[in-house]
């Protein structure tokens, strides 16, 4: 009887581990990139800080994430800087990452990310906020999506310079 209980217990553990190992990707998720926390500190520097802060506030107010503004280098750097005629007005990059041993079993846990507005390109304030809204969304692990909001900007129609309910749901499903 003891042996059967032990066998059953081990079977449940093994199946559980296998289930955990399935890297389920949300359709609007950028690969498997994710943070292991809901409070992600943001450091704003460079040009267009008002627009960057407004974009962060949009995500902070509408999703489960808490995004405190920090005064020095921290989890995410959000900045405006002139990179010249690169063709892109915004760039999101994952600078540091580590192996996720407890959730998705891959090199996909974000440790540090950047969201840059390329200030070589001059837009109205609303559009700068829209670019940063999308770049900041990428740093949380979101892909472009065809369901509107700023994560559709430039890729799908309709889009906007703000987050929308689909963007909120995508984040809330991840965190």
């Amino acid at each position: 009887m003891k042996g059967k209980i032990l066998t059953g217990f081990l079977a449940v553990i093994a199946l559980g581990l296998l289930a955990l190992n399935v890297q389920v990707g949300n359709a609007h998720q950028w690969g498997n990139w994710h943070w292991d926390k809901k409070t992600i500190r943001m450091w704003v520097w460079g040009s267009h800080q008002n627009e960057s802060r407004a974009a962060i506030k949009d995500w902070n107010d509408k999703t489960k994430l808490t995004l405190p503004l920090w005064s020095s280098h921290t989890d995410v750097s959000v900045f405006g800087a002139n990179s010249g005629k690169t063709g892109w007005a915004g760039l999101a990059s994952i600078k540091e990452y580590e192996f996720d041993w407890w959730h998705k079993w891959c090199w996909c846990r974000i440790k540090h990310a950047h969201a840059q507005y390329n200030s070589y390109y001059n837009y109205s304030s609303a559009n700068v906020q829209g670019v940063q809204c999308q770049e900041v969304g990428h740093t949380f692990g979101l892909d472009h999506s065809n369901t509107g909001g700023c994560m559709a900007k430039g890729y799908y129609s309709p889009s906007s310079n703000f987050t929308n309910s689909h963007n909120w749901n995508d984040i809330n499903a991840m965190y």
């Binding site: 063709g87 001059n122 990428h138």
Partner: protein, 293 residues
């Protein structure tokens, strides 16, 4: 099956599952370390072929002859580690075979954001290299090996020597290759890059943006389409100095056929917010390029 056999089968299954699990985790840990890609918001977002032609300075048909690394773009970034932000770049040399707009040179250099910045932490440390043998030449000043097409913007896909493309281009940045200054062109938008296949049909490089509607079109027909279409160029907007693409007039059948860039809900009625999307669309004006370091 008696209980003893069942027990052995169960134990065997469990052992197999554990081994499979450990194997998967081990594979992920040792062999599946990703090169993170970059995500971009492109400055120019044509909604139609006419807008793409209006925004492009040149439309060319060209063959890739070389892909090489350029010196990193370096932005002063006080407070970031190292006090700077580095973006790795590549320069793609192309032999021009024809032009549908503009008068390009016979050979052009196309700027591309890609590659590993030279200061990346997981690159080989030259301080740990063995001592230089007597009479050997000095090691290269750049410690990072050039591996083309590593770390790409997700939708600005790699170029391979010998490939042929139709591309919508604008003037790109002046960059340096091993200290030498080079003028480049930059792609208008990844959705305006089309590979010419061996059967002389064009394939858009990305699955979104406006390019998909031309998938499989014959090269000659595509050339004619581009040459004949009346371009829609930016016009002054309401704000001082602002430029916009004019409001799109929707032709019958345009929306269901997806003749503008993809909509959120294909095949359904016009989604909320679509009207605004078809209104005037802001186009950035360009500022002063930074000094190269």
């Amino acid at each position: 099956m008696n209980s003893h056999t069942l027990n052995r089968v169960l134990l065997g299954t469990i052992a197999t599952l554990f081994v499979a699990f450990a194997g998967q985790v081990g594979y992920q840990y040792w062999f599946n370390k990703p090169q993170p890609v970059l995500m971009a918001a492109w400055a120019f977002e044509p909604r139609t072929l006419a807008e793409a032609k209006g925004l492009a300075e040149e439309v060319v048909e060209a063959e890739v002859t070389k892909v090489e690394r350029g010196d990193d773009l370096v932005i002063p970034a006080p407070g970031e580690p190292g006090g700077e932000e580095r973006i790795a770049i590549e320069v793609v040399s192309m032999k021009v075979k024809g032009a549908m707009k503009g008068k390009p040179a016979q050979e052009i250099k196309v700027f591309r954001t890609a590659g590993i910045p030279v200061t990346r932490k997981d690159m080989p440390n030259m301080k740990e290299a063995p001592p230089k043998p007597k009479g050997a030449s000095d090691p290269p000043s750049r410690p990072t090996p050039f591996i083309e097409n590593t770390i790409n913007i997700h939708d600005d896909q790699d170029y391979k020597v010998g490939e042929n493309y139709v591309m919508f281009l604008r003037d790109g940045p002046q960059v340096k290759i091993k200290g030498r200054t080079v003028a480049t062109k930059s792609l208008l938008n990844p959705s305006t890059r089309f590979r010419v296949e061996k059967d002389n049909r064009v394939t858009p490089l990305i699955p979104d943006g406006l390019g998909q509607q031309f998938k499989g079109r014959g090269l000659q027909q595509f050339r004619t389409d581009i040459q004949q279409i009346a371009e829609r160029a930016p016009v002054p907007g309401k704000l001082p100095g602002q430029m916009v693409l004019p409001k799109l007039k929707i032709q019958p059948g345009m929306l269901p056929q997806g003749a503008i860039r993809p909509r959120g809900i294909e095949g359904a009625k016009i989604p909320e917010g679509m009207e605004a999307e078809l209104e005037e669309m802001e186009v950035p004006t360009e500022g002063e390029a930074p000094q190269l370091k």
